[in-house]
Amino acid sequence: MRKNNYDSLLYISIFILVLSSVMLAIAGYQLYFKSNSNSNKTIIISSSGDNRSVRDSLQHVYNSTLKKMDDNVQLAGVSLENNTAQTMLAEMDRLKQEIAALLKDQRPDADLSIAKEKIDLLQQKLEILQDRYTNINTENKRLQQLINQLMASDKNAGTVSSIKAEKEKNSADKNVPARAAGMHLYATMLNNAAEEETSTSENAEKIVGSFYIKNIQDAKAEILVVVLQPDGKVVSNSAWETGTFNTAEGKKIYSRKIYVEEPGDEKPLNFSLTPDRFLKGDYTLQVWYNGTLIGKTTRKLS
């Protein structure tokens, strides 16, 4: 009789335990998917085991980048004598070789994260190159049209060559597009009241960035700084400092607005941001001017 009572109690207990576990699992499921619903999809680099599928994905991304590069080199061909462009193309060639070598490594435990970082870097450089030469190409087309119109008129035939030369000169001066250079982005922590650079999200207290602008033509030029955290959200200090701006891709949110007072001023521009929390992954600094991306760099926090 007594044994029967204990057995009943045991069955009831097991039933409640099963019910509780199911509820806990549901709560856990909801919590997990809620917290992950906004995160960006990225290529996951496995640290161990067979990474064939990751290699295939990277190879695919790499191939598309190469194709894009081929298209853009043709576009930029008109100005390949330009030193900056040559340097950038040389850097990109070097990156291509390094990535190809990394992707050739067929070992199952090969660390492909470096390959991914280098592909990201290659894509950034390509973007900058593309932005720079899009403007030049557009202006060249416009000038060519103008020349064609002038040549069509016999009266003005004599002045065509001088106009052409003058336009080309102006174009060369004005169409060297502004770009951000010397870009740095890092996280800092306080150590005995001194600020120190850190690479871990646990220790990070502040994001610090700096850069300078080359070839700025306007006085009081508005430079917009966008810092994206790994989940794609824009980092900002306070709502008073942030805002929206228009680009060809649509409206974007900036983290900070910085002014370059004088044309040609290449003084370093510094900023710092103190988000409530730091995440593991890539933090991206974008610099925008007149709706165009003029510089980009990333920094990983582990």
Binding site: Y6, S13, S20, G232, T242
Partner: protein, 384 residues
């Protein structure tokens, strides 16, 4: 046998712990990242109703006055009608929000501040109904069983001063002119003398509703939008224009400030419709040109401001889209096309006075203006 019973007992205890803790975790109304110890509540007994603001005063609040509005809920009670029914509704609303703060947010009574706003004070003085405020406070104390609970009454000047302290961050405190565009009037000011004791007041007898009413009187039988716009511009070009120009010049605000922040319902509406991407921000910057273009869009393409069309322009992030949809719908419940036009017409008229050609000023729209003064009151009480 003994072993079986012990095991049964252990399983029962574990089961109940899991069974009852899991739903509790799911139901907690305080966001996980917020520390309960930093939570305070401010209850504002206003002319139209009772408003509860749950705010988080961060660790540096004493130095910077930084706060985050966690929850802002209100009950419409129309206390200033001073009838038994509105008295009863106000008392009920007051007890309701007090218990909400006490029980749902687990905020200790000592961290819940109750203040009767300047609108109620002014109307009570005008109608000789001060005893109604006293009775409300006494009844409240009796019901919550706290005879010593403070229920403060503040005047207009103090409310404007606290609004500035609550809304404008410390680093912009002495170069920001804060203007609250209300329905019946527009008021604000700035700290002229480098201290927060006295505010240089700015007052207009025109608000969104008064402009709208004056326009309605002129439109007569032609209720079309173009005619409303024409008549509204005539209204704005008359008395309001003279008053705005005089008040702005008298305030000396142009020379003394770099930042001009606008709060009130119309500021919230424009910020929500014009900058949906910044839906989570309590303050958004804007330019005079953007505002003028927006008013044209409002008049000529009102349909583009529907929740559906606005959300259609937003890329990604479903969660934000839901917030934008509900907030845009809320704007359309409060303002129709004509009242938006009236409010924005007044806003443009005021902003125009500060839009310099030589010196560029910064303009901001403040969305949570109504939480500002009560938050500053709480902050001031906690960090005297």
């Amino acid at each position: 046998m003994h072993k079986t019973s012990t095991l049964s007992l252990f399983i029962v205890i574990c089961s109940f712990l899991v069974l009852f803790t899991a739903p509790t975790l799911a139901q907690n109304s305080i966001p996980a990242k917020i520390k309960k110890a930093n939570l305070y509540a401010g209850i504002d007994v206003g002319s139209k109703g009772v408003k509860l603001s749950i705010i988080e005063l961060k660790k540096n609040a004493a130095a910077t006055g930084v706060f985050t509005a966690i929850k802002d809920s209100s009950v419409n009670t129309d206390f200033i009608s001073f009838t038994p029914a509105t008295f009863s509704a106000t008392l009920k609303g007051l007890i309701g929000v007090y218990n909400l703060a006490l029980k749902n947010y687990e905020i200790n009574s000592s961290k819940i501040f109750v203040v009767v706003s300047s609108g109620v004070k002014g109307q009570a003085e005008k109608e000789n109904k001060n005893s109604w405020i006293k009775n409300l406070a006494d009844s409240f104390r009796l019901i919550i069983n706290e005879p010593g609970k403070a229920v403060s009454v503040i005047d207009g000047m103090e409310e404007a001063r606290l609004s500035h302290l609550g809304i404008v961050p410390k680093e912009r405190r002495y170069n920001t002119f804060l203007i609250d565009i209300g329905s019946g009037n527009t008021k604000g000011g700035y700290f002229k003398n480098g201290n927060t004791k006295t505010l240089k007041l700015f007052l207009l007898t025109w608000g969104t509703k008064t402009i709208s009413n004056a326009t309605e009187k002129r439109v007569e039988n032609d209720k079309s939008i173009p005619n409303y716009n024409k008549q509204m511009n005539r209204v704005l070009a008359g008395e309001p224009d003279e008053e705005i120009v005089y008040a702005v010049n008298e305030s000396g605000a142009y020379n003394m400030n770099d930042n001009f922040a606008f709060s009130g319902g119309i500021a919230w509406a424009v910020a929500t419709l014009l900058y949906p991407e910044l839906i989570e921000n309590s303050v958004v910057p804007f330019s005079y040109d953007e505002l003028v273009k927006f008013s044209e869009r409002l008049m000529n393409n009102y349909q583009s401001l529907s929740a559906e069309n606005i959300v259609g322009t937003i890329k990604g992030n479903t969660e934000i889209k839901e917030t934008i949809t509900s907030e845009v719908q809320r704007v359309h419940k409060v303002f129709d096309q004509k009242s938006l036009m009236a409010g924005i017409g007044l806003l443009i008229k005021i902003v125009r006075q500060f839009e310099g050609t030589m010196e560029k000023k910064n303009f901001y729209l403040v969305k949570n203006g109504q939480v500002g003064w009560i938050s500053a009151y709480v902050n001031q009480s906690v960090n005297p």
